[in-house]
């Protein structure tokens, strides 16, 4: 806990939090890292296999095969989310299912399903990006900043 947060707490609160903390199980970082590596790696390997299949059988090139590969992974994720399987895999896999494109597809699909009861406009439409929205907003903005830096360096004669 940061000292800034501690300042707001009374001594009794601090004492209790230490008391409670000692009785809380810690998430196993090493085990979670291993599971995330395994599942994340498997998803990426599967994506690689898909890409190679698209190149071999559907006449895509290495540059263009990315799009159908990602689309396939998204469709599979959305189906798994809809059938209620994805969250169970994620509980076991942790970051392994969040980081790849499948995690992003899951946030959009799960929020859409969840808010279907409020209709297509106020429910699905408004809430679809409830979780993914910040990824899009900050993702696009960071890409813009990085590009700006790259362009500036190039203009100054670098790289």
């Amino acid at each position: 806990m940061s000292s800034k947060k501690n300042k707001k707490l009374t001594p009794t609160q601090q004492k209790y939090q230490a008391f409670a903390k000692a009785r809380e199980p810690k998430p196993s970082v090493l085990k979670n890292c291993f599971k995330a590596f395994l599942v994340g790696g498997l998803i990426c390997t599967f994506g690689q296999v898909l890409q190679m299949l698209y190149i071999k059988y559907f006449n895509f090139t290495e540059d263009t095969a990315g799009d159908p590969t990602v689309a396939t992974l998204i469709i599979i994720t959305v189906l798994l989310t809809g059938f209620g399987v994805y969250d169970h895999i994620a509980q076991w896999a942790g970051a392994g299912t969040i980081i790849p494109v499948t995690g992003f597809a899951n946030t959009v699909a799960s929020a859409s399903i969840e808010h279907r009861s409020e209709g297509f406009v106020l429910g699905v439409g408004s809430n679809m990006f409830k979780l993914a929205g910040s990824v899009i907003a900050y993702g696009v903005f960071s890409a813009f900043v990085v590009t700006l830096i790259k362009v500036t360096i190039q203009a100054l004669g670098g790289i």
Partner: protein, 334 residues
């Protein structure tokens, strides 16, 4: 009658003439499934939203409870109920169906015992002849409101709990056959500065400790007076903390009579992480399992301390800590 600082003694000992517990599919696989009056295989209950399903659960618990007492909806003087939904819609919409004069309460997961305490007070003060007290929660609707979409794949930490899908109701009367409500201790709001909604047990434990201590102090009795002291929905971690904290404060409750509704409701192998939670946790376990055990003669005197975390999704996002409360109700067989 007020006793001590914050406890009520009910001299007329209002009787719980009937009670009912309704649960969902996950509860049907649980450890006390035979104590439910009705179990649903479909988490939607045939409705088109989780919120409507939760309302249905509460309606059914109320109806079964009224039926068991061979009464009609019209005989109910007051209906007291609470739940976790914004503006307690499950309770209010159920009150629309029942049609009885209604008091909506919000004590988060402590609503069950808050309702039972107020209902007993109404009976004891001769302000009512029949009071129906209920509480409900639904895993889908609660997760949707307080946390993430149900199908969202995020890993829950080992301190997270599983919201019970169900509803419980108890029908109180001046006289009749059944377990009697003898006293209640109304809790204070306690905030120890914890702010993690995935660790409610640790946040609520100090509130439970405060109310338990107040109960024994006000009534001037020992924990051994009871055959069972059950907290509402503290889960493994919160229950452990509560026990240790009470011992630390010099109030020792023997392990064999100290339990938690959140630990009783599910089987060990069910993936509930730290245990059950939600309004329906203490409501279904008390109005189903515990009262059944009392009627069977296995328990004579019990104390149920329902714990509630009084946060809102907004207060959590604004980085507020979680204020918590606990209400204790003592039920005895005469």
């Amino acid at each position: 009658m007020l006793k001590g600082h914050q406890s009520w003694i009910f001299n007329s000992k209002p009787v719980i003439i009937s009670s009912a517990a309704v649960g969902g599919p996950f509860e049907a696989e649980g450890a006390i499934s035979e104590d439910f009056d009705m179990l649903h295989q479909d988490i939607w209950l045939g409705q088109d939203s989780f919120e409507k399903a939760e309302k249905k659960l509460l309606e059914q618990a109320c109806e079964i409870s009224i039926q068991k007492a061979n009464m009609k909806k019209e005989d109910i003087d007051f209906f007291i109920s609470g739940d976790l939904m914004n503006q307690i819609i499950s309770s209010s919409f159920t009150a629309r169906t029942i049609g009885a004069p209604y008091l909506g309460i919000f004590g988060a997961c402590s609503s069950s015992m808050e309702g039972l305490a107020i209902g007993s007070l109404l009976i004891d003060s001769k302000s009512a002849n029949y009071v129906l007290a209920g509480a409900s929660s639904h895993n889908g609707s609660v997760e949707k409101q307080f946390r993430y979409p149900t199908e969202y794949g995020s890993q829950k930490p080992p301190t997270a709990q599983w919201t019970v899908t169900g509803a419980g109701a108890a029908l109180l009367a001046k006289e009749g056959k059944g377990p009697r409500v003898t006293s209640a201790t109304i809790g204070r709001v306690i905030d120890m500065g914890l702010s993690d909604p995935f660790n409610m047990g640790a946040a609520m434990a100090p509130a439970a400790v405060d109310t338990i201590e107040a109960h024994f102090r006000d009534l001037n009795i020992e924990p051994s007076y009871y055959d069972l002291i059950a907290t509402g929905d503290l889960g493994t971690i919160g229950h452990q903390i509560t026990g240790d904290l009470l011992t630390d404060h010099g109030l020792h409750i023997p392990k064999d009579i100290f339990n938690d509704c959140g630990l009783l409701i599910y089987k060990k192998e069910q993936p509930v992480i730290a245990g059950g939670s939600g309004c329906a946790c203490s409501a279904t376990v008390t109005y189903g399992h515990l009262l059944n055990r009392m009627i069977k003669g296995e328990l004579n005197r019990i104390l149920v301390i329902a714990t509630g975390a009084l946060l809102s999704p907004l207060s959590y996002q604004q980085k507020e800590s979680i204020p918590c409360i606990a209400h204790a109700v003592s039920i005895e067989m005469s």
